[in-house]
Symmetry: C2
Subunit: 324 residues, 2 copies
């Protein structure tokens, strides 16, 4: 019953193709070094889930317009900017199986390229007087930066409640998918109430998306993906938070001390993974994720039943069933 990415894309296949050309165009610059890097980035693009959310939600509420394209480009530029900066933040040398910008051109250039992409993203709306899109976009940048910083702050202390976990992932991940959906419907002239409804739908999908991502750290991923990276980096995610809440005081102290002092030791990380699994952390997080997806689908079902709605339902299912 699950749809493939190709089936999901069917109602907006033409738009996605046209978008690719427009997006490349929007990245053009006269600075040669920058142009080289932009080409490198465009050639290694991802699945473009975010533009898909923009086009599909737009289709849900009206006729896709030039403004929808600008919304999708704004989001994709902004997303690319945060990926380039994230690789600096995480000191990561790879992105989508290729070298990251900071690995090839050093951190200093990656920081500037990210800034450039951010400004490009905003200028696109500024120059077209897309005030609402801009508002949604700048809010997203702020929320994302706050979310990442909040995560770093909390990671140091290793005391993180479910509430704080949801606050962090809402900001750092869900904000952008929420922005996609809000922009999509806003670009076709939907009223404030509908924009808010679409935003909330996207936020729930984004939260589910991140829980899925966090579950991969416990082996719910394609074969060969390394496990326990989050634990190694002292990132506390839902399965672990739940497991710790179930544990007695002594076990809790022991696990936290392991994460604090021995997270570089793969054997110790494996022990933590084992502890989480035995405590039912995986089942719990999966259940929570499914509940949130159901809430998202319920919101979606208040929109008219069209091919766009079916595709969106498929896209939501895809985000929690994907294998990487």
């Amino acid at each position: 019953m699950s749809l493939s990415i190709k089936e999901i894309q069917a109602p907006i296949a033409e738009e996605m193709r046209a978008f690719e050309g427009k997006f490349r165009q929007s990245m053009k610059t006269k600075v040669m070094l920058l142009d080289t890097i932009m080409n490198y980035i465009v050639q290694r693009k991802g699945k473009q889930i975010r533009p898909m959310f923009v086009f599909l939600t737009a289709g849900l509420c009206g006729e896709i317009t030039e403004k929808t394209y600008r919304g999708a480009a704004l989001i994709e530029l902004l997303h690319t900017a945060t990926l380039v900066h994230d690789d600096v933040v995480d000191d990561s040398n790879y992105r989508r199986g290729f070298f990251s910008v900071n690995a090839l051109w050093k951190n200093k250039i990656a920081v500037l390229v990210g800034d450039y992409l951010l400004s490009k993203s905003l200028l696109l709306s500024v120059n077209n007087n897309d005030f609402e899109l801009l508002k949604i976009g700048s809010n997203a940048i702020q929320e994302m930066a706050e979310g990442e910083l909040m995560q770093m702050e909390k990671a140091r202390k290793l005391d993180i409640t479910e509430e704080v976990y949801f606050e962090i992932i809402r900001r750092k991940t869900a904000t952008l998918i929420a922005a996609c959906c809000a922009m999509g419907v806003s670009s076709v002239g939907a009223d404030d109430e509908t924009v808010e409804k679409a935003r909330l739908f996207g936020e729930k999908v984004g939260v589910a998306f991140q829980i899925k991502d966090d579950l991969f750290d416990y082996g719910d991923a394609e074969i060969g993906k390394p496990l326990g990276i989050d634990i190694k980096e002292k990132k506390m995610t839902l399965p672990l938070i739940y497991a710790l809440n179930q544990a007695d005081w002594f076990t809790k102290r022991r696990v936290i001390n392991t994460i604090k002092n021995e997270s570089e030791n793969p054997k110790k990380v494996a022990e933590v993974i084992d502890f989480v699994k035995k405590s039912g952390g995986i089942e719990y997080a999966t259940k929570v994720m499914q509940n949130i997806v159901t809430e998202a689908q319920n919101i979606l079902n208040t929109f008219p039943d069209t091919v766009f709605r079916q595709s969106l339902a498929g896209l939501v299912q895809f985000t929690i069933e994907r294998s990487k």
Copy 2:
């Protein structure tokens, strides 16, 4: 005849004080780590030359309004964001005599703090529907990132003409001062022609400001400041470009080879400095700077003769006479 910073500030002293409070307020956040960093940044603020340009140019054309304050805050947030990112870009551990954000909290946090400040800066205008301010601001971010990247690209090749030098400093430095002046007059409702005139005035001041900065590398600075940093980093600035243009083919090759291969050697750097001085590079750059300042003052003189105009004339003089 030169005015002190205090005298320059006199007509806007009250506004600058009120601005400080508003600026602190605009940096507030619920994320604790971020709040700590924001406080650290605010306490170590610079001379606030840029807000002064905003308020003084606003006074030149009308009554200072809330929008002027927002323009000044937008600029100062944006400027602070670029400083935080610049310190990552330059791997610099100090800023204004204190540790830089990246030195105290690491690069990853500095990148996010910069992004946060950029979004704050833009949101300030977005939330107040200051569309023109936003346009000026986002354009500035783009130009600055392009300018820095252009400089890096050219630095590698060590072939840089006067034309390219001016293009780089216009983008990386002058853009922001130009933006201050354009925002100042725009915030009090000046027409497009006046905004463009103010922008051009600011651009010329900014170019002169950067030439002055580049001259410091040759000893035109307060005692004790290290010389030849630009040469060490293979940044070609106006005095050197001029000197190379005057040299015969053989000397030119020799100096370029020294910069390319021996710029880590202080004795060799001293030789390059000596070469530039003997070729008249300092006098030339100083003369060019003064001509540009005259052009700026001529533009300024087309505005009505008020205390604001006198202060601006003093501020322009200050930027090229400052000792650091």
